[in-house]
């Protein structure tokens, strides 16, 4: 079978044995799982499924996957899918970030990179064409984001020029992903970072990199993207995609950051003071208050005319030197309103700090807000924290972020993420701290509340999502129950969800790969296949935490408390409705009402290899263990 859109091989680096090799992937597997999140689910289960419950996500046996998709380089806006057994949910999360590492991997002749084992001391992996090296990284260990970027770029770019400039001319710079101090210290809310502010945050894969003593992965390739089946059609579809994306002028100008004002005041779905409220009357947010700090009107990733990003820089005053992207809506919400910080400059400062430390902004805003509520309620005291953690005090939160990244004092507890921290604090203080943890499957929910029912997520979405609180992959109200498989498409073809135009993306997938996959077939077959593996891995869980079907497939308790303020005051999620929708949703995917995949479904989707795990889950549920 002639492969189009793929090289048909992955690069596998074993840090324990200090070896690398190429691994072929069967074309049938590529057709069934496509790439990115889908392929990651399959590969992870194939490798680790037999002992999933025992695999420690932060142990050397876990795999770190950096995968591309067939549309890498073609579809506007390059993305890279990061995965592995998640140190947050103990399941599989496909965490996607913008990074040209995806393009470079393709250009080097690989569809992705698999990292195994653990290096005995800090290293980084460097791939240049067909050369693969595991290099010492002691000089980079401990450095913040910007210094890491600067040093690595200087080092690798200098070396590339020395070796190639005189002979063949100037090659483009290499691309890399890295971790900050948070990842090094195995903080479960650490992100895999690219550039200054690009992060694969959900899942906690920065901690996985840290656990492998892996500071960075740098790639430089020289070849073309793999051959497309119908190159002329690809050109036409690409032009059409550009034409449409360019027309989205409001989004191009303000990105998701236009929501800061809008969501809070109109939809009442923005986290405010750890979700105690979802509305505030402050009008300091909104694009017009951030754009004065933007030093570039537009900033885009490879092949993306949407350019929703901006660079915010603060050049004077207390927060001088802060440098981040936008901040986008999630950061405005989580490192702003959720902490009671409603001053744009302070929000830029906290975003910049989270980037520097290599922390996921969403997860960190979630856990910091949780800690501040415990302080507000007197559960955590000044003695526990070391200072007063008051709403709106950006300096105090900055200190807390540093402590989390370095696991100092209370930071060591909070570095375990909101859920695990809540378990530990509950035990130590003899209170139920879990009621203040706004998470699903230990993953902090996105900055989109469900109580007002005015945002894009329906009430049951976080309860059922195989990626926990991930707002980018939870089922949306707009596209009905099939939408979770739809986001699995974006993450598997590995394209930007904001740029995803269905009627162009599927034809492009066909034109590039030659696979006969349309939206209907994807929903019926591929998407369900991927979600089913993810669901089983999530329920298998372990070693430290497992999820109980039904009981843990629920919203955080906070969403059942009525909204105390704003135009939708009094509204809350309804337990019976959520339970009914959850059941209906599971059935629609071919699972039973508890969300355990049916045997027929496994047969239909070609997932026979899940049967032993599924029957064990079922019998455990029957016997109540």
């Amino acid at each position: 079978m002639q492969l189009y859109g793929y090289h048909g091989r992955l690069l596998e680096v074993d840090l324990s044995r200090e070896r690398s090799r190429e691994v072929e992937i069967e074309p049938e597997i590529l057709e069934q799982y496509v790439g990115g999140r889908g392929l990651a689910s399959y590969l992870l289960w194939r490798e680790l499924g037999g002992s999933w419950r025992e695999v420690d996500p932060l142990g050397p046996e876990n795999l770190l996957l950096l995968l591309t998709g067939p549309l890498t380089g073609y579809y506007p806006g390059v993305k890279l899918a990061v995965s592995g057994k998640s140190p947050q949910s103990n399941g599989i999360v496909g965490s996607v970030l913008s990074s040209e590492v995806a393009i470079e991997l393709k250009a080097a002749g690989y569809d992705g990179l698999v990292v195994r084992g653990r290096a005995s001391s800090p290293v980084y992996v460097y791939v240049e064409g067909d050369r693969v090296e595991i290099r010492e990284a002691a000089h980079l260990w401990g450095l913040g984001g910007r210094e890491t970027f600067r040093k690595l770029m200087e080092e690798l770019w200098g070396e590339l020029k020395r070796r190639r400039l005189a002979r063949e001319g100037l090659t483009k710079e290499p691309s890399f992903v890295y971790i900050g101090p948070a990842g090094e210290n195995r903080v479960r809310t650490a992100a895999v970072m690219a550039k200054i502010a690009h992060a694969a945050g959900y899942g906690g894969y920065g901690a996985v990199m840290g656990s492998k003593n892996l500071k960075a992965v740098a790639v430089k390739g020289f070849g073309p993207m793999p051959r497309a089946k119908r190159p002329e059609l690809v050109k036409i579809l690409l032009r059409e995609a550009w034409r449409r994306l360019v027309r989205r002028t409001g989004f191009r100008q303000w990105g998701t950051g236009s929501g800061g004002y809008y969501f809070a005041s109109v939809t009442s779905s923005e986290p405010v003071r750890n979700w105690q409220e979802e509305w505030h009357a402050n009008r300091a947010f909104g694009p017009q208050n951030f754009e004065a700090h933007w030093v570039k009107r537009y900033w885009g990733d490879y092949g993306c005319p949407t350019t929703c990003m901006k660079i915010s820089a603060i050049r004077s005053g207390a927060h001088r030197g802060a440098l981040t992207d936008a901040p986008d809506y999630e950061m405005q919400a989580y490192l702003g309103a959720n902490l009671g910080v409603l001053e744009p400059k302070a929000c830029i400062y906290l975003s910049s700090l989270a980037d520097e430390l290599g922390l996921c902004g969403i997860q960190t805003g979630n856990v910091a807000g949780f800690a501040a509520e415990l302080f507000q309620r007197g559960i955590l005291t000044r003695e526990d924290i070391g200072f007063d953690l008051r709403w709106g005090d950006a300096k105090a939160f900055a200190k807390l972020l540093e402590m989390i990244a370095r696991r100092e004092g209370i930071g060591d507890v909070l570095a375990e993420g909101t859920y695990r921290a809540a378990l530990r604090i509950s035990k130590e203080k003899g209170v139920d701290a879990l009621q203040y943890a706004v998470v699903s499957k230990a993953i902090g929910v996105g900055a989109h509340g469900v109580r007002s029912a005015k945002d894009f997520l329906p009430d049951f979405s976080y309860a059922v999502c195989v990626q926990g609180g991930d707002h980018t992959s939870a089922p949306t109200g707009l596209r009905g129950y099939k939408s979770e498989v739809s986001s699995a498409f974006d993450d598997s073809a590995v394209i930007c969800s904001f740029n995803s135009i269905r009627e162009l993306a599927f034809p492009l997938l066909q034109a590039v790969t030659g696979f006969d996959i349309d939206e209907e077939r994807w929903s019926r077959e591929h998407g369900r296949r991927i979600l089913t593996i993810q669901r089983v891995a999530l329920l298998e869980g372990g070693p430290d935490l497992r999820w109980r079907p039904g009981l843990d497939d629920d919203l955080p308790p906070r969403f059942y408390e009525p909204l105390p303020s704003g135009p939708f005051r009094g509204r809350a999620a309804n337990r019976e409705e959520v339970a009914a929708k959850r059941k209906e949703y599971f059935l629609s995917l071919g699972w039973d009402e508890q969300g355990i995949p049916r045997d027929e479904t496994l047969e239909e989707l070609g997932l026979g290899f899940l049967k032993p795990a599924v029957s064990r889950l079922r019998s455990e549920l029957e016997h109540g263990s």
């Binding site: 600067r150 770019w157 063949e168 001319g169 550039k195 073309p224 993207m225 497309a228």
Partner: protein, 166 residues
């Protein structure tokens, strides 16, 4: 009949989207191929994007350096055209190029440089269509004598200061 032309670059307007690279490689190679693009956008620090391509120096040092007659300027557009048959991949043109624009094709190893798409450059078209106008076509007459491309490291350094201070 097109007149000699020049691609004017404004790095301050460049978003780093690389549509120019995609369009260039699609046209010349039939696929997306960043290293084979005749125009390249360097991002040596996040957000500091440097579009880099041939400036058609009037004295054409690359053409002069070629001992095999493989390079000659196009009389209509002013672009340097490569005769792949004559090119022996010696790299003398690469050494002679003041802006380090000239390079050998990553696969064929023949000299590779912007040919201005025969007078209607694809890269400029997509940049203008996307509304960035970081690339525009101007008549060569309006260019001062001895304009040449500056190496991207240098542009990047100056641009960093302009954008972020220090």
């Amino acid at each position: 009949m097109s007149k000699p032309l020049f691609i004017l670059r404004d790095p301050l307007k460049c978003s780093g989207c690389r549509l120019c690279e995609v369009a260039c490689s699609l046209r010349h190679e039939g696929t997306v191929w960043p290293e084979a693009s005749r125009i390249k956008v360097f991002e040596l620090f996040p957000g500091v994007d440097v579009p880099h391509t041939c400036a058609q120096c009037r004295d054409y040092p690359c053409v002069k350096a070629c001992g095999y007659g493989a390079l000659k300027p196009d009389e209509r557009t002013g672009a340097v055209l490569v005769d792949a048959e004559k090119c022996v991949s010696c790299g003398e043109c690469v050494k002679a190029c003041p802006g380090k624009v000239m390079r050998l094709h990553p696969a064929t190893r023949k000299a590779m440089v912007c040919d201005l798409c025969g007078g209607d450059p694809e890269c400029v078209k997509v940049c203008v269509e996307a509304g960035f106008n970081a690339l525009t076509v101007i008549p060569y007459e309006s260019v001062t004598l001895h304009v040449y491309s500056i190496v991207p490291d240098e542009v990047s350094r100056r641009l960093y200061e302009t954008l972020f201070g220090e």
